[in-house]
Symmetry: C2
């Protein structure tokens, strides 16, 4: 039986949406149990589910304004306690919608890295026009990467695509400013030479290629990964706003939008972050899923489902073995 | 009378759309003349416009597969000849839809940089939800930038926003992976400390802030600028494709889309690159407008209008003076 630790305090909107997500997940599947870390959480759980939930008391929250590096000293925080449960083998996985830098620090330093991994990476799924998903990593805290970090991200991402996404032959790319080999900044060019050693590697991915379905995994440093996520979010939400404004100004368009409601809802569902709900931290010894601070109950539910898939897989060993096999390429 | 040199050969689709754009521009305004550089172009110009067009013969094209550094040796190419017209003061401005790296090299080395500028930058306009435009630079060839380059981009961008976009108090940001001062890679953090010396500077701009209307100018290196452009393009075109697919599958949505056609057309027009048609190269001594290889006639027309605005302004002197005033901040 998989045990999932959920940091109930970490989200931007307090425990309510997180606990609601946990309840939804528990109701949908019965092959796991949950430990909720937080304050006064028990009354929020329906009595019929109490046999599958345990509680760890913690009223201290690591705020977004706190430094990630403080997380290690703040042993009473919900996120610290949640990660400790995994470290102590009390739980198989942890889901947190709290301070992502802190979660990453704690996971790296308390749970520990998989042998051969220099830096864990946060990997997120994005939609493609083919209705497939592409895994983008790192979208996290590794802002200044070396070529070897990007190379490891590639190995980890391909392992995830095979084991968790179920792809037989994942296609790997590296984010660059053009398709040609001559394109890229210094680190990207150097990383590309290392990535060539992997069968999965298909070359440079431009910003627009991320959504084209040509790639299943793309690597970049966390600085660029964050900019990609936020730019895609900003551009599509600007487009929605433009459409809404036009609709507001025309009765004809208003009626049209009404008829298109189903279509728009489907699109929304497809590009919706909530559908996968969290980003796995790849490269640490256990399963750590990092969710958005603004996660809805649905996002938390899906993050838990991701954690279950991860915890049921053998991905840590696969990453370790792949890194060992490939270590000859690094001097 | 402003004289604009137009590289008729540079576009991906040959001279036709470029020449058509020139004709549209000539028909719309009578305060400028054009020199077209290309082969067999004269027969394409209506006789009533011939008194405003001169021709320079060139049948050699610098291909996209050629290296930018070869541009200097290839003196018979249309782009070389076009840039020389500006260098020789025969023309005030040049518009090219050809190899952008080559245009940049030629402009930098043949026309020359404004005193105080280390690296010219390609600046492009993007739409915001406020129906304003934001200037993003560099989106060009400066893939590995130092902090001082980004600082200069900020000074040049603000000058452009004031002089060409007509903004009284432009708001300047630097692209980063979070709002907080602690966010950024090493170069970005260092550049931010320099940019603080400018009144216009408002702090970090996340990817999503680019489209929010909070900033009029944002700076980044050319690697990130390219990724921002392409990601925004890829994300919005993926969204359009999702909508189109949904419409295809539902009669109701099909009818709705028909009623919304006007609204969609307006949105399309608003996010349309063709509306501004080209990106100015800031930091060289004269006006160089770089257009997309796939430019439509409309894009070329608008690129010429941009060139006219630029050539009628005093922006080179303003950039030079601003850099001189601010040079004390660079050690």
């Amino acid at each position: 039986m998989i045990k999932v630790a959920v940091d109930a305090m970490g989200g931007d909107f307090g425990p309510a949406p997180i606990v609601e997500g946990v309840i939804k997940a528990l109701e949908a599947r019965d092959d796991f149990v949950v430990t909720l870390i937080g304050s006064q959480i028990k009354p929020l759980i329906p009595t019929n589910l109490l046999n599958r939930v345990s509680f760890v008391e913690s009223s201290e929250i690591l705020e977004m304004s706190d430094h990630a590096t403080d997380a290690l000293k703040r042993k009473e925080t919900s996120i610290y306690k949640a990660v400790e449960l995994v470290r102590d083998k009390e739980c198989h996985a942890v889901v947190s919608a709290g301070h992502s830098g802190a979660t990453m620090s704690l996971a790296t330093l308390r749970v520990g890295r998989i042998p051969g991994v220099n830096r864990p990476a946060i990997a997120t799924l994005m939609p493609t026009v083919n209705k497939s998903r592409v895994l983008v990593l790192d979208v996290g805290a590794n802002v200044d990467c070396k070529a070897r970090n990007l190379y490891e991200f590639g190995i980890m991402g391909v392992a995830y695509a095979k084991e968790i996404m179920g792809l037989k032959n994942p296609r790997l790319g590296i984010v660059s400013n053009g398709e040609e080999d001559s394109k890229g900044d210094e680190v990207t060019k150097e990383a590309r030479e290392l990535l060539r050693n992997l069968d999965a590697f298909k070359g440079n991915a431009e910003g627009s290629d991320i959504f084209s379905g040509e790639f299943d995994v793309v690597v970049c440093d966390g600085f660029i990964g964050n900019i990609i996520l936020k730019t895609a979010e900003g551009a599509t939400s600007a487009m929605s706003k433009f459409i809404k404004n036009e609709v507001k100004n025309s009765l004809l368009a208003k009626f049209g939008a009404l008829l298109m409601k189903g279509a728009f809802d489907n699109v929304k569902k497809y590009v919706d972050y909530d559908e996968y709900g969290g980003a796995p931290l790849l490269g640490v010894k256990d399963c750590v899923i990092i969710s958005h601070g603004k996660s809805s109950p649905k996002a938390i539910k899906n993050a838990i489902f991701q954690a279950l898939k991860f915890a049921n897989s053998n991905i840590e060993n696969i990453i370790e073995n792949r890194l060992k096999e490939q270590s000859g390429n690094l001097k």
